[in-house]
């Protein structure tokens, strides 16, 4: 099923998310959708699901849809359950001989719809083992409503509900490790990725997720220029710094076996990732040096823990 990655061939596949939607320039979410949908084999049909969020309100604003495939948005917290219903309908209608085509099922949710309000629905869908892929485009806050903190927001991030202030250093808590929680569901495929180099990592993982029978979960760091505070042209650099500082490790869990898919030759200090983002500006004020030390310690701890799992 899997073929060697051919950048030119993959990039020249017909777009399944048509241009003309209303997502921001420099938004990682749109790139997540296009990258994942490119991994669909052109002969396969698909039903795309979507939790309420930026992506939904910007790509299916009545009467225009940006999707070349069938698409369903239901509500904020139930993308997992909704697509599990579609996938079940597919199985039964195929069994009854009412449909013949091959369909794949992929749903997208932001971190709000996935880590938080949609967590139960996601967990249920994964546990039941529907043949579907849940893709979280993780931009680390509720961006659609204007950058409120989520359980995916990194510690010390300045958000509109955890503002940095005279007596506040931003979000208090560390982020939830959703990919690990999904791996603990013992589903056949879990992976974490973002946009790097020639997109081989995300493409390979998306293809595996789609074509592994059973439930699969993809966690994609998808920077948000408005919420993170970077120039839209800097998107790829931000992603590169996230993986080279080991803030956002890229790995996959295949049938319970953990594997790092990228290890930086030289691990950069996390402040290189934090500095270009306005949401961490306050960390670089005199007197806050200790906060960056703490942030680094958390990154190191998680990287070590992950490395141990991947050994």
């Amino acid at each position: 099923m899997e073929t060697a990655y051919n950048f030119k061939e993959v990039m020249n596949r017909p777009e399944r998310l048509a241009p003309g939607h209303r997502m921001c320039a420099g938004c990682g979410g749109t790139i997540a959708v296009r990258a994942v949908l490119r991994a669909l084999h052109p002969e396969d049909k698909a039903v795309i699901g979507n939790a309420t969020g930026c992506l939904e309100v910007s790509t299916y604003m009545y009467p225009y849809t940006a999707y070349e495939d069938s698409y369903i948005h239901n509500a904020f917290e139930n993308a997992g359950a909704t697509l599990s219903g579609v996938e079940t309908a597919y199985r039964v209608l195929k069994k009854k001989g009412k449909i013949n085509d091959n369909y794949k099922f992929i749903t997208f949710g932001g971190d709000g719809g996935t880590y938080d309000i949609g967590f139960q629905s996601l967990s249920g869908a994964m546990e039941r083992g529907h043949d579907m892929v849940y893709v979280c485009y993780d931009n680390g806050a509720y961006m659609n409503t204007g950058t409120q903190r989520s359980s995916a927001t990194p510690q010390y991030a300045d958000t509109t509900t955890t503002p940095a202030g005279k007596v506040s250093a931003g979000k208090v808590q560390i982020r939830k490790d959703l990919a690990a929680i999904m791996a603990e569901h013992h589903i056949p495929y879990v992976a974490q990725t973002t946009y790097t180099g020639n997109f081989k990592d995300i493409h390979t993982k998306a293809e595996r997720a789609i074509y592994t029978p059973g439930a699969a979960f993809l966690n994609i760091m998808s920077p948000c220029p408005r919420g993170w505070g970077y120039d839209p042209s800097e998107l790829m650099n931000i992603c590169k710094l996230a993986v080279d500082t080991c803030y956002w490790p890229m790995f996959e869990v295949v049938e319970g076996k953990w594997r790092l898919t990228y290890e930086p030759k030289k691990k950069l200090p996390v402040e290189d990732f934090l500095r270009p983002q306005k949401r961490f500006k306050h960390l670089f004020k005199a007197g806050n040096e200790e906060l960056i030390v703490q942030f680094q310690a958390e990154v190191d701890r998680r990287w070590e823990e992950l490395a141990a799992k991947c050994r």
């Binding site: 948005h73 219903g85 369909y103």
Partner: protein, 398 residues
């Protein structure tokens, strides 16, 4: 030939599901509707039907998955009660606005606060504005018969709305009664195959469901839903006629009982209508007083004109609500009946009672007292208690 059986209301609805053999059923257990998914799971386990069951982790996911399955082109149903319906609340509105013909077997139970597992209509009345058709049953037979008519109404091209088939928790859901069941082939022919016009898995076209509709479009979707509800009135009657032709059992928006010459009427929903009928027979036999009853079967769409016509010559009317709505005035049925009479310029006196909340019994004696009260009101033209509770514990009993 119809089959004579003895079944509980839950068994009767489950049997109807078996005969229909729908495509997908997501469900999460909640008393007193739990038996329905249990029976269906057993039919599946024994290869009697090829429905796919989705073992969802909540009622919210149950209705969410039902929505996905229905949009995908599958004939879909679920079952729930009380808080389960409350948890679905958001999804009920989405299902109706997406115009998905999902059928919900609702076994009515009081909403929590305090927790209570017995019958009242607070769950379905809370969902009365969600855009679902609501059909209520007095008996197990009616629950079965209504369920058979649900998909043909929901899937009709002029309707395309979800349907809630309601019956009273424990009273009918667990009470075993004699019942007439139709033969499988007759049921199959009556319900027919589901052939959706547009659906996600249609090889000939793609489809998008659940848009963001800005102010320019939202209002038209609501008007379209209203039109579907208006159309549903005609379709519900057509299906009732078709059903009568098959079974001989006649259904309408409501049942008029001893109303031909009645002067005093009770308007009621659900199983307590049976007790009311017994009271009517007793009163007529012992006193000859002209008492009757209107039992609402279809609450959504609301049969305003037909109901006003049925009640227009009454001297006094009591509307009995099995749900509060805390307006500090009417209950939900009371308010709608009063509005119907006002529209018809009826001068009939009307009072509104609350009864049976959380499963409290209502007796033949209670109904007799209501009719006596109506007679007094008609004679004096004075209403002292516009709104009152039946069978409430008095302070001395506390």
């Amino acid at each position: 030939m119809a089959i004579r059986e003895r079944l509980s209301g839950n068994e009767a609805v489950s049997y109807a599901i078996k005969q229909i053999n729908p495509d997908v059923m997501p469900a999460f257990p909640i008393t007193p509707s739990t038996e329905i998914p249990q029976y269906v799971a057993n039919y599946i386990a024994n290869g009697e039907i090829d429905t796919e069951f989705i073992h969802v982790e909540s009622e919210h996911s149950s209705m969410s998955a039902a929505l996905g399955a229905s949009a995908a082109g599958a004939r879909t149903l679920t079952a729930t009660s009380s808080c389960g319906l409350a948890l679905m609340w958001e999804e009920l509105y989405v299902a109706a606005s997406d115009r998905l013909p999902i059928v919900l077997a609702l076994v009515n139970r009081a909403l929590t606060g305090p927790i209570n597992i017995n019958a009242d209509h607070s769950d379905s009345m809370g969902a009365r504005d969600s855009g679902w058709i609501q059909i209520y049953a007095e008996s197990n037979q009616e629950a079965y018969d209504n369920f058979l008519q649900a998909f043909p109404i929901a899937e009709h091209k002029d309707v395309r709305l979800p349907v809630m088939i309601c019956q009273d928790g424990f009273i009918t859901s667990h009470g075993v009664e004699n019942i007439l069941l139709e033969e499988d082939d007759k049921v199959k022919a009556f319900v027919g195959e589901y052939e959706p016009e547009h659906y996600l898995l249609n090889a000939k076209e793609t489809m998008a469901v659940g848009p963001y509709a800005v102010t320019n479009y939202y209002m038209e979707t609501k008007r379209a839903q209203r039109q579907a509800m208006i159309n549903a009135k005609k379709v519900i009657m057509e299906m009732a006629e078709k059903f009568e032709a098959m079974t001989g059992r006649k259904y309408g928006f409501f049942e008029s009982y001893r109303m031909e010459d009645a002067e005093y009427a009770i308007v009621i929903i659900g199983s307590a209508a049976g007790t009311c009928k017994a009271a009517i027979e007793k009163i007529r036999e012992t006193t000859g007083k002209k008492v009757g009853m209107v039992k609402i079967r279809v609450f959504r769409p609301f049969p305003e004109e037909e109901l006003a016509e049925a009640l227009k010559d009454m001297k006094a009317i009591a509307v009995l609500d099995r749900a509060e709505m805390f307006s500090a005035t009417s209950g939900p049925l009371g308010a709608e009946v009063r509005a119907a009479l006002y529209s018809a310029k009826s001068q009939a006196e009307l009072v509104n009672y609350f009864y049976g909340l959380g499963g409290r019994d209502i007796t033949v004696e209670d109904f007799k007292e209501v009719y006596e009260k109506l007679e007094t009101i008609a004679q004096t033209h004075r209403i002292t208690d516009m709104y009152s509770y039946i069978g409430l514990r008095s302070a001395e009993e506390e």
